[in-house]
Symmetry: C2
Subunit: 152 residues, 2 copies
DNA sequence: TACTTTTACAGAAAAATATTCTGTTTTTAA
DNA sequence: TTAAAAACAGAATATTTTTCTGTAAAAGTA
């Protein structure tokens, strides 16, 4: 379970590009295929490596608007939270949802085609949820950084 | 450049798992290897597919705290923004940074081991930037959803 | 210490996958 | 109606992953 320096090097490489071959990695860290293969399998089995995914260009898919929604619920009870959570899990435009501290209850990140779609989402999907009391929208004007790479 | 239904099916699958083989995909959408291969290569070339990455378990890597920082700059000039942006790009604990509308200028997402690390980050790395005037921290209490999958 | 066990690694063989090639069918456009 | 282009299938080839065999180093035990 404890990661040594070799594990960390492998993880750093795989975070950057899941399509590096074992040979690529082996070359970069001066090892043979076997230990690289064994270590990757172990990291998968231990759940350090969660999954391999493909990142698509959101703008090229027509998603030109990103917004943060700061949501306040009507009540702070468990049932209210759970009901809200379940609804959110079924909304594909909500890519992040976190229960937070502060002046509101949830911070959501929404990726959506345009303002019209957002208007529709806001009015017909989010604000109509029985658990939702207040929504404060923060519009993204320009994306500076967005990465899946964690510091290791 | 226009995506047909087959392209979309391929993208939906690859978003979920970048390690699906061409054969897996071909079977799932009832095609032979050739068109699947050709289409994936085209989607890569056109930049619809941006990259393949590995998602790691942040908690197993010791990152137990996620926070949003709402940052206000001292001035709203181009130079101030650019200076801030460049500093952020060199901070590995900042996984998202967006210039936004509203009562503050930037929304940041920080992934970090614990409160002590955050204290250090806040005091020694973020608040000391000459462009930063105000920081409002929103702590994540519980993660409800976090996905790289875009609606297609 | 000597011995056993475990772990980490290398190299080679086998299996699976990606890539390339050839050719056919379908669609599109002249 | 014909020519050109696009989409696809199947087979051959190249590459990669996976498995197998064995060696060396490290860790644990009597």
């Amino acid at each position: 379970m404890a990661l040594d320096e070799i594990d960390k090097k492998i993880l750093r490489l795989l975070q950057e590009d899941a399509h590096y071959t074992l040979k690529d990695i082996a070359n970069k860290i001066n090892l043979s295929l076997t230990p690289v293969h064994d270590r990757v399998k172990r990291l998968e089995k231990d759940g350090i490596i969660e999954k391999y995914v493909t990142i698509l260009d959101k703008k090229k898919l027509g998603n030109n608007l990103t917004v943060y929604c700061q949501v306040t619920l009507t009540k702070q009870t468990y049932d209210t939270s759970e009901g809200f959570n379940q609804s959110i899990l079924n909304m594909p435009e909500v890519v992040e949802c976190n229960y937070v501290s502060g002046n509101f209850d949830y911070m959501l990140k929404i990726i959506i085609p345009d303002m019209e779609s957002y208007h529709h989402f806001h009015q017909k999907k989010l604000s109509v949820l029985p658990e939702v009391s207040l929504i404060n929208t923060v519009f993204v004007i320009s994306e500076v950084k967005s990465t899946t790479v964690l510091p290791i």
